[in-house]
Amino acid sequence: MKINLEYRKKIIKTTIVVILALLFLISLIWFASTFKQLYRTGNLEVDYSITGRPTRLHRPITISDIRVWMTFDYLNVIFKVDPLYFKNTLAITDSKYPNISIEAYARHNRINPQVLLHNIEQAIINYPNNK
């Protein structure tokens, strides 16, 4: 009986170790693959060195970087847009503007977030200072 218990404990321990080892191997491959992909796309180049000096031209933010969690206030700052531009162009009447996220605005007004995202992207492309 005691031998059976010891044997069972050994089997369980070996199983746990094998599973952890496999998970480790999979994670290592996944990490290496992510690193390689990010390195190739230039995402691992720093904008500023530890001394605070710029090391490369700051990658300009583009419309493909816009996400639904971003607020209109944030978009105004990073795209250097007039604070009332989105309000006028997209006919936003929400009193919280610009302190409201794209996702929250879409939810309150029952708009598809992806459709709103597309409209915002078009508004930025058509912004007078971008021409």
């Binding site: 994670s27 990010l38 995402n43 904008d47 971003m70």
Partner: protein, 205 residues
């Protein structure tokens, strides 16, 4: 991006430094909120001109220290009383192995406290163990402040340096964290008995 981070980031953008303070405090005190990711994001937003990096540094450092110390004192004053009410936790608290770990950390807490600041689950765990084991408060405070300072600087440098690419870099850090914890888990599984025996010998000396 992680669902939790996606849920919290809009509040960081809306309520700015207040939201960052509250999220960081709660992450240090009791909740497994990805504070590192939020700090990387905030530093990236600062590089884009949306926040002030110096204010972020001060706010997050204060929040980290306040949260860690609140967690330590809560565990020290009320921890055993509250946790003992859950039967299986009570069993762990009175077990020989847990007592051994408590004593080992209380004797030499420095490195463990310092390194645990870099990950939220380890921060909460070590704060709890130090509080329950009544580790010397001065030692805990010293290494906790040192660790928090290093942790905040580390994540701010990453966020500010990589700027707009912060989401991609954060993904890589997340992958690395998983790898790191699997290594620790594997090491503990393989050498658990030897680790306990060594701790026992050190404490008996």
């Amino acid at each position: 991006m992680d669902f939790l981070v996606q849920a919290i980031i809009p509040y960081i953008l809306l309520y700015k430094y207040w939201a960052l303070f509250i999220a960081t405090f709660l992450a240090s005190f009791a909740l497994p909120i990805p504070a590192g990711t939020l700090l990387i994001a905030s530093a990236a937003f600062a590089s884009q001109g949306y926040f002030n990096i110096a204010i972020i540094f001060i706010i997050v450092l204060i929040a980290n220290i306040a949260g860690d110390n609140s967690s330590y004192w809560f565990a020290r004053l009320y921890g055993r009383r509250i946790l003992s009410r859950v039967p299986f936790i009570q069993k762990i608290l009175v077990s020989k192995d847990f007592t051994l770990i408590e004593k080992a950390i209380s004797r030499r807490p420095g490195f463990i406290i310092f390194i645990s600041r870099f990950e939220v689950i380890s921060t909460l765990t070590i704060n709890l163990i130090c509080g329950l084991g009544k580790a010397t408060y001065k030692k805990f405070l010293f290494f906790e402040v040192l660790g928090s300072f290093a942790n905040v600087i580390f994540y701010i440098i990453i966020g500010y340096s990589f700027g707009d690419s912060w989401q991609a870099v954060n993904k890589l850090i997340g992958n690395f964290s998983i790898l790191f914890f699997l290594v620790i888990a594997l090491g503990i599984s393989l050498f658990w008995k030897k680790i306990l025996a060594k701790l026992k010998r050190e404490i008996e000396k």
